[in-house]
C-alpha cells in the first residue's frame, strides 16, 4: 500500500515493542530488545533496513529465525581520514551524502537485515513479519543522557537519572527503529528499573510490576495512537510525583527536593491547556500528559508523544519574577507542539515548516491572550527583526525546499556552508531561524484569510488526524496524521476559498526577505505626499517584493491608511493629504485608535500637515524598512502613536537625533506609566546614547537620575532608595533597567560621571529586600551589570603591571562590592546564581579594561563541571574572551579539551558557538593561534561521530574562523614565524599543497558514501593565493 510520503519504503510498520530490561547507572549502559511488526508492501522483501546508531546489536531474528545483518554508520567518519580534501564545501557534501545514505525516508538505514530465505515465499503472500533485535548501549554519546552525581549513597539518593534527547529524529541513538517522522506505528514499551526509580515514557502507564526479587519494577506503557519513532522518549530517575490538582490525568515529575518548586511552577499549566483546547475546539489528543524536569538537559523544552521533557532550571518558586514568564513560555511551547509536531507529524522534512509554523502561531495566540497585545506585537517585531537580520547577514532561509535531481548542484541554498537537505545537516541557528520564519509566515496567512478560518483549518487537520488515529486496523488511514505542505494548502483553500498561492510562493518556496528604503516629500501646491519606496533585492538574503503595501499617515485631521501597490518599476507614490496645514486653530487631533489628544504642534513644519508616516505598520511583509522622516516626526510618533512597534521604531530612529526635543520625548515616555514597560526600557538606553552625544550641551543632573530618584527613592532623603517592593512588575523592570542604562553615560573625559557611580554604589548600599515578597536577585545582578557598564579603560603608563596599590579609587570601590557580592553568594546563593554570573562578567571587564591583571584561572575554576550551568557559561565566555585578547593557545587547547570531554552536551555545544561568536582570530588577522594543529583538531571533531547531536557546532566555528574558502588553512603547514603574511601565503601554499597531493589516495570510498570530485588542485591554489592577497 504505497502512499505519498514513504513511497520508497518497501515495508510498513504496524506495531513496535521496545523493552529495556536493564539500566545500569554505574556503567551508563542499557540492555534491551525491540520487536517490530512489519507489513511488507512489496513482493520479495528480502532486506529490511533500520536505523540504529551506537547500539551494539547482539542478534536479529525474523519470525523466530536467526537473520544475518550488516551494520554500517557512514556518519562516524564523514570524510575518509586519508582524504586530503579539507574544506567545508567538501565536508558538507560528504556529510549530506552520508546522512542520505541512511535516510529512513528514502528507505535506508544503518542496519541492514537479510530476511531468511525461508520467509521469502511468505513475503510473496504479504504476511506480517516480526523482527526481533537484541541490543545494548554503552556510555551513549547521544540519544540518552545519564546524569550521575558523584556523591555517596544509592543511585536514587544521588538523584541519578537518565533521559532521551536529540536533535530532530535521533531516536536511532538509543534503540533500532525506523527513525522517521512519517513512519507511524503503535507502541508497547516496557522498562525495568530499580524499585526506587520511576520510568516515564510515552502513552498510558498500564501497570507497574515488581520483578521476582522485588528489587526492581517494570513499567508497562501502551501507546495506541500511531506515533513516529522520533516522538518516543524515556526518562528514568528517582522522580518526585505530582498529580496536577486541576487535571488528574496530567502528572508532573521532578528530581528529589524540588517538589515545592514543581508545585508552584505547574500551578498554571491547566490554563494553557484550556486555552489551546478552546481555540482549536479540540481536546488534547492523548489520554494523559506527563512533564519531566531533568538536569543537564540539552534544550529547555522537548516534546514527545504525550510527554515533554524540560530543563530542571525552569523550575522556580513564587518569589522569582523574571523566570516566571520564561517558564510559562516554555510550557506553552511544549503544549503547542503536543498538538502539532507530536500528534500530527510530518510527511517529509520539506513539510516541517507547517508544523513549526502552526505550533509557533498558536503559541503566539497564547502569548497575546496571556501577556497582552503589546507583548505580542513586541514579540512579533522582535522575531521579525531577528529573522531579517539573520537572512541579510547569513543568507536566505528557505521554508519549503524542493530537491529535484538530488545533485548538489541543485542546492537551493548555495550561500550556506551546510546543506538544508536533511534536518541533521542543518545548523542549529538556521533551524531556529527556520522556526521563527515559519510562525511569522503563518501569521501572514492569518492576515490573508482571517484568524477564524485559520483556526478552522487547524481544527480540520486535528479532527482528521484523530479519526485516523482511532482506526486501529486500517493503518493506511494513518497518513491522515501526517501533514504535508500541499495538504495544508488544500485545506486552507477549502476552508477559506482564498488563493494564497502568491503568498506561499513568496515566503515559503523562496528564501529571503524584503529590504525597503523609504523617504518622502510634501508637495504643498498639490497637497500631496510624495512617497518614494525603493527596494534592495540584489544583496544576499533579499528578494523582490511586488504587491500591496499598507502605509499609515497621521495628519492633523486624523490617521489614514493607504494601500499602495509596489510594482516593478514604480518607486514614487502620490498620496493625497486630507488636511490643509493649519496650526492656529486649537483642536484636538484624532489618532488611529479613535482617541483625541492635544499636541504641541510648535515643533512641526508650518507648511505640512504631516505628523508621521509608517510603512507596513502591521508587519504583513517580512521586511526591513529604513524610513527617513524628520526628527520631530519621530518624536510625535513616539509620544502619540499607540502601537508599541511604532514607539520602538521611533526610539531606535531617535538615536541619531541628539537634541533637547528628543531628550524630552524620551523622558516623557519614561515617566508615563501607561506606556508599555519594554518601550520604556528601550527608551532608557536611547536616552543614555543621546545624552552622550549631547555631552557638551547637556544641562542638569545626569540623564535619568532625577527620574529614578522621583520614582524609586524616598521623598525625605532622595539619595536613599526605597525598600524594595516589586509588586508592580512594570516599575520593577524599569527600576532594574535604569541603572544599567545610566551607567553607560560618559563625561567629557569619556569616564562614567562620578555622580552616577556614587549613585549606583548608594543603590547597592541601601538596597533592602527584607519587606519584599519577591527575591531581588535579578535586581542585584543588574546593579552589578550597571557597575560593569560604568567601567572604562584604565590609563596605563608604559604597560606597568597591575597591582593593588595602583588601583584607581573608584575601581577599588567597585571591586570591593563585587568581592562582597561574590563571596556572599557562596553563603547565600541566589536563584540561578545570577549574582555570580554578573560578578564574573564584571571581573572579566575589569581585566579587559586593564584595571586588574588579566588572568583566566578564576574563570577556569568556575567553568568546571559541578557549577550551575549559567555560571559555567559565564565563566567560559570570559575564558573565550581572554583567549581572543591574550591570544593564548593553552586556553584554546583547554577549551577544545572541554569540547571533547565535558559531560554536559549543552556546554560542549555552547563553547563552540561562543567561540564562533567571539573567534580567537579572524581570517583577516594574522595570529599564532591559527595553525594546522587547530584545523586538524576541529576537522577530527566534526569528522568523527563524536559530536552526535550537535555535529554542526565545530563546522560553524571553523566557518567563522576561515569562511568557506577551502584551502586557507593549508597554508599554515610550515610553522614558520611570519614576517609578512601575504608573502608567506604565496610562498608556502603551493608547497603545502604539493606535499599533500603527492601522498597516494589509497582509500576506497565507503559504501553509500558519495565521493565527489573536487576542482583540481591548481585551481584551488590560485583561489587561495588570491584570497590571501
Amino acid at each position: 500500500v504505497p502512499h505519498s510520503g514513504s513511497s520508497m519504503n518497501r515495508k510498513k510498520d504496524k506495531g513496535f515493542e521496545i523493552c529495556i530490561n536493564n539500566i545500569n547507572f554505574q556503567r551508563k549502559s542499557v540492555i534491551g530488545y525491540v520487536e517490530l511488526t512489519i507489513f511488507p508492501t512489496v513482493m520479495n522483501l528480502n532486506r529490511i533496513k533500520l536505523n540504529s546508531k551506537q547500539c551494539r546489536i547482539y542478534r536479529v531474528r525474523v519470525n523466530d529465525l536467526e537473520a544475518p545483518f550488516i551494520y554500517n554508520d557512514p556518519t562516524l567518519e564523514v570524510c575518509h581520514h586519508e582524504s586530503k580534501q579539507r574544506n567545508l564545501n567538501y565536508f558538507s557534501s560528504a556529510y549530506t551524502a552520508a546522512v542520505s545514505a541512511v535516510d529512513p525516508d528514502a528507505g535506508n538505514g544503518e542496519l541492514s537485515i537479510k530476511v531468511p530465505s525461508e520467509l521469502w515465499k511468505q513475503g510473496d503472500e504479504m504476511k506480517v513479519m516480526k523482527v526481533y533485535i537484541e541490543f545494548s548501549l554503552d556510555q551513549p554519546k547521544g540519544g540518552l543522557h545519564f546524569v550521575v552525581p558523584d556523591v555517596e549513597g544509592s543511585m536514587a539518593e544521588r538523584a541519578a537519572h537518565v533521559f532521551s534527547f536529540g536533535n530532530q529524529n535521533s531516536t536511532r541513538f538509543w534503540f533500532p527503529c525506523v527513525d522517521s517522522y512519517s513512519e507511524l506505528c503503535t507502541w508497547k514499551l516496557e522498562f525495568t528499573v530499580d524499585a526506587s526509580m520511576v520510568a516515564v515514557s510515552c502513552g498510558d502507564l498500564v501497570e507497574t510490576v515488581y520483578t521476582h526479587d522485588m528489587r526492581k519494577k517494570t513499567f508497562h506503557y501502551m501507546l495506541p495512537i500511531p506515533t513516529a519513532a522520533p516522538n518516543i522518549s524515556l526518562a528514568v530517575g528517582p522522580f518526585e510525583i505530582l498529580v496536577d490538582p486541576y487535571m488528574h490525568e496530567v502528572t508532573h515529575f521532578c528530581l528529589p527536593q524540588l517538589l515545592p518548586l514543581l508545585k508552584h511552577t505547574m500551578s498554571y499549566l491547566h490554563e494553557i491547556f484550556e486555552f489551546y483546547e478552546e481555540i482549536l475546539t479540540c481536546r488534547y489528543p492523548y489520554s494523559c500528559f506527563k512533564t519531566v524536569f531533568v538536569d543537564e538537559a540539552y534544550v529547555q523544552v522537548s516534546s514527545y508523544a504525550s510527554m515533554s521533557i524540560f530543563s530542571t532550571n525552569l523550575l522556580h518558586s513564587g518569589m522569582i519574577i523574571d523566570q516566571t514568564p520564561v517558564t510559562r513560555h516554555c510550557l506553552a511551547q511544549a503544549l503547542a507542539q503536543q498538538f502539532f509536531g507530536c500528534f500530527i507529524s510530518r510527511m517529509s522534512w520539506a513539510d516541517e515548516w507547517v508544523l513549526k509554523g502552526i505550533s509557533g502561531y498558536i503559541y503566539g495566540l497564547y502569548l497575546k491572550k496571556t501577556f497582552g497585545v503589546n507583548e505580542y506585537r513586541h514579540w512579533i517585531k522582535e522575531e521579525l527583526d531577528t529573522i531579517v537580520d539573520y537572512e541579510l547577514k547569513i543568507g536566505g532561509v528557505l521554508l519549503h525546499p524542493t530537491f529535484s535531481g538530488g545533485k548538489e548542484k541543485d542546492n537551493p541554498t548555495p550561500h550556506l556552508h551546510f546543506s538544508i537537505r536533511h534536518p541533521h545537516t542543518l545548523s542549529w541557528e538556521y533551524y531556529k531561524m527556520f522556526q521563527c520564519k515559519a510562525h511569522l509566515v503563518m501569521r501572514l496567512i492569518e492576515n490573508r484569510i482571517s484568524m477564524e478560518f485559520m483556526l478552522q483549518v487547524f481544527n480540520k487537520l486535528l479532527s482528521l488526524a484523530s479519526t485516523a488515529s482511532s482506526q486501529k486496523y486500517q493503518s493506511h488511514m494513518w497518513s491522515q496524521m501526517l501533514v504535508s505542505t500541499s495538504g495544508f494548502l488544500k485545506s486552507i483553500s477549502n476552508v477559506s476559498g482564498k488563493d494564497i498561492g502568491p503568498l506561499i510562493k513568496q515566503w515559503v518556496d523562496q528564501s529571503g526577505v524584503v529590504k525597503f528604503f523609504g523617504s518622502f516629500a510634501f508637495n504643498r501646491k498639490r497637497n500631496v505626499l510624495e512617497l518614494e519606496i525603493r527596494q534592495d533585492y540584489t544583496s544576499s538574503g533579499t528578494q523582490k517584493y511586488v504587491g500591496p503595501i499598507k502605509v499609515t499617515v497621521q495628519e492633523l485631521d486624523g490617521s489614514f491608511n493607504h494601500t499602495l501597490q509596489i510594482e516593478e518599476n514604480s518607486l514614487k507614490h502620490d498620496i493625497p493629504c486630507h488636511s490643509k496645514s493649519r496650526r492656529n486653530k486649537k483642536k484636538k487631533i484624532p489618532l488611529m485608535n479613535g482617541e483625541e489628544v492635544d499636541m504641541d504642534l510648535s515643533a512641526m513644519d508650518a507648511d505640512s500637515p504631516l505628523l508621521w508616516i509608517r510603512i507596513d505598520p502591521d508587519m504583513s511583509i517580512l521586511r526591513k524598512v529604513e524610513f527617513e522622516q524628520a526628527d520631530f516626526m519621530w518624536q510625535y510618533q513616539l509620544r502619540f502613536e499607540r502601537d508599541v512597534v511604532a514607539q520602538e521604531e521611533a526610539i531606535s530612529a531617535l538615536e541619531i537625533f541628539p537634541t533637547p526635543a528628543s531628550r524630552l520625548a524620551l523622558t516623557d515616555i519614561l515617566e508615563q506609566d501607561q506606556c508599555f514597560y519594554k518601550v520604556r526600557m528601550q527608551a532608557c538606553f536611547c536616552l543614555a546614547k543621546i545624552a552622550n552625544s549631547m555631552m557638551s550641551t547637556w544641562t542638569g543632573p545626569p540623564a535619568m537620575k532625577s527620574l529614578f530618584t522621583r520614582m524609586f527613592c524616598c521623598k525625605s532623603c532622595p539619595n536613599i532608595v526605597k525598600t524594595n517592593n516589586f509588586i508592580n512588575f512594570q516599575s520593577y523592570f524599569l527600576q532594574k533597567t535604569m541603572p544599567v542604562a545610566m551607567a553607560l553615560l560618559r563625561d567629557v573625559q569619556n569616564l562614567c560621571p562620578k555622580e552616577v557611580l556614587n549613585f549606583m554604589l548608594d543603590l547597592i548600599k541601601y538596597n533592602d529586600n527584607r519587606k519584599n515578597k519577591f527575591s531581588d536577585n535579578y535586581y542585584r545582578a543588574e546593579l552589578i551589570d550597571a557597575l560593569t557598564n560604568s567601567l572604562t579603560p584604565a590609563i596605563s603608563i608604559n604597560n606597568e603591571v597591575r597591582t593593588v596599590d595602583n588601583l584607581n579609587t573608584d575601581v577599588r570601590l567597585i571591586l570591593e562590592e563585587i568581592t562582597r557580592f561574590l563571596n556572599m553568594e557562596k553563603l547565600l546563593p541566589s536563584y540561578r546564581n545570577t549574582i555570580t554570573v554578573s560578578c564574573l562578567r564584571a571581573i572579566r571587564m575589569l581585566q579587559k579594561n586593564g584595571h586588574i591583571p588579566s588572568d583566566p584561572s578564576l574563570f577556569k575554576s568556575y567553568a568546571q563541571y559541578g557549577h550551575f550551568v549559567d555560571v559555567r557559561i559565564a565563566a567560559l565566555e570570559a575564558v573565550i574572551d581572554y583567549t581572543r585578547v591574550d591570544r593564548s593557545s593553552s586556553e584554546l587547547q583547554w577549551l577544545l579539551e572541554l569540547v571533547h570531554n565535558d559531560p554536559v552536551h549543552y556546554i560542549r555545544h555552547e563553547i563552540l558557538s561562543m567561540l564562533a561568536k567571539n573567534p580567537p582570530f579572524t581570517k583577516a588577522a594574522d595570529s599564532l593561534l591559527c595553525n594546522e594543529a587547530l584545523v586538524d583538531q576541529l576537522w577530527k571533531l566534526m569528522n568523527s561521530g563524536r559530536m552526535h547531536t550537535f555535529n554542526f557546532s565545530p563546522r560553524k566555528f571553523l566557518w567563522c574562523l576561515y569562511g568557506l574558502n577551502p584551502s586557507i588553512y593549508q597554508s599554515y603547514l610550515g610553522q614558520k614565524p611570519k614576517q609578512s603574511p601575504s608573502l608567506i601565503g604565496v610562498a608556502m601554499a603551493p608547497l603545502g599543497l604539493k606535499r599533500k597531493a603527492e601522498t597516494p589516495l589509497s582509500s576506497s570510498p565507503e559504501p553509500g558514501q558519495v565521493m565527489q570530485e573536487e576542482p583540481s588542485a591548481k585551481a584551488s591554489v590560485k583561489s587561495k593565493v588570491s584570497n590571501l592577497l
Partner: protein, 308 residues
C-alpha cells in the same frame, strides 16, 4: 555538710602545688605555704627521731602528703561525727571516736606524746590570714524590712541585684535608620565573608597581594542545581514574614486564592476552589486519595510462576 573541709583540703593541695612555682605571692598562697612548710618540718623531725639522716625530696613530699591527708581526714570525720549529733563544734570525744574509727589505738597516744626523744618544733611563723578583697560597694546596702527577723541572713551586696537603667532616645530619623541598617549589614557581610575567606581556600585577583580582595574559592558541587534553584533559608524566612504580615492585612472577605500560594496548605485550598470550567470534574480535597492516576497506584506483585 562535709563540703567545707573537703574544699579546705582541696585548696590546701592546690596551694601546695602552686607553691612550687616561684611566682606565686598572693597572701592566700603564702598562708598555705607556711602551713605546708610547718608540716614538712614536722615530718623531717619525725624522720630524724627515727634515725634517718637524710631523705630524698620525693620521699619527703610523699610523707608530707600522707601526713596532711591523715590530719585532714581526722578533721573531716570529726566534723561529720559532731554534726551527726546536731552540734556544730567538734569536741574531744568526736576526735577520739574518729581516731578509733580510723583504726588508731588511742591509748598509745599519751605515751607517744610523752616520749623522751621528742623534738620540739618552734611554732610556725605567724602569717597573716588571707584578706578577702572588699567588693566594690555599689549603692546602699539594704537592711531587713521589719517583718524579717534580724537573725536571718543579710541581703547580699547591692551590686548583685541593683540595676541602673541606661536609656537613650531611639533614633527615629528615617535617613539615619536606613544608613545604619545598610552599613551594619554591609559590615556584617564583609566581616563574615572575610572570615570565611580567611578560614578556607581563596582565590585572588592580584598576583602581588594575594590577601587583597580575597574571594572564597569556587567549589563544584555534585548537584549544583539544588542550591541554585531552591530559595535560601534567608529568603524562606522573609517569605514567611511577608506572608504572615499579609495575612494580617487581608481580611477574610478576600476570596481570591490565586497567586500567593506556595505551601501545601494553600495548595490544598486551591483544590477546594477548582474553577467551574476545569477539564476534570471538580473533586473535593478529601477525595485526593481517590485520584486515579496510574503513577499513584500500588506496584503489583509479580505473578508466581509454577515450576513443573
Amino acid at each position: 555538710m562535709a563540703d567545707s573541709v573537703v574544699m579546705g583540703s582541696g585548696s590546701l593541695n592546690s596551694g601546695s602545688r602552686s607553691g612550687s612555682s616561684k611566682t606565686s605571692t598572693s597572701p592566700t598562697e603564702n598562708y598555705q605555704l607556711a602551713r605546708r612548710r610547718t608540716l614538712q618540718v614536722v615530718v623531717s623531725s619525725l624522720l630524724t627521731e627515727c634515725g634517718f639522716e637524710s631523705a630524698e625530696k620525693a620521699a619527703m613530699e610523699t610523707l608530707t602528703e600522707m601526713m596532711q591527708s591523715y590530719i585532714t581526714e581526722v578533721g573531716r570525720c570529726a566534723k561529720a561525727t559532731c554534726e551527726h549529733t546536731a552540734r556544730s563544734t567538734p569536741t574531744l570525744s568526736d576526735v577520739v571516736i574518729t581516731l578509733v574509727e580510723m583504726g588508731f589505738n588511742v591509748d598509745t597516744l599519751p605515751v607517744y606524746a610523752k616520749r623522751s626523744q621528742r623534738m620540739v618544733i618552734t611554732a610556725p611563723p605567724i602569717t597573716n590570714a588571707p584578706l578577702i578583697p572588699k567588693a566594690l560597694i555599689a549603692g546602699q546596702k539594704r537592711t531587713h524590712p521589719t517583718y524579717i527577723p534580724s537573725h536571718f541572713p543579710e541581703f547580699p551586696d547591692p551590686h548583685t541585684y541593683i540595676k541602673t537603667p541606661t536609656f537613650r532616645e531611639p533614633v527615629s530619623d528615617y535617613q539615619v535608620v536606613r544608613e545604619k541598617a545598610a552599613s551594619q549589614r554591609r559590615d556584617v557581610e564583609r566581616a563574615l565573608t572575610r572570615f570565611m575567606a580567611k578560614t578556607g581556600e581563596t582565590q585572588s585577583l592580584f598576583k602581588d597581594d594575594i590577601s587583597a580582595f580575597p574571594l572564597i574559592a569556587a567549589k563544584p558541587s555534585a548537584i549544583p542545581y539544588l542550591s541554585a534553584l531552591l530559595p535560601s533559608e534567608l529568603e524562606l524566612q522573609t517569605l514567611e514574614e511577608t506572608d504572615s504580615s499579609e495575612q494580617d492585612d487581608q481580611t477574610d472577605t478576600e476570596n481570591s486564592s490565586s497567586n500567593v500560594s506556595q505551601d501545601d496548605q494553600s495548595a490544598d485550598k486551591e483544590n477546594v476552589v477548582l474553577p467551574p470550567g476545569g477539564v476534570v470534574p471538580t473533586g473535593k480535597a478529601n477525595e485526593e486519595n481517590m485520584i486515579d492516576n496510574p503513577y499513584l497506584r500500588p506496584v503489583k506483585k509479580p505473578k508466581v510462576r509454577r515450576k513443573k
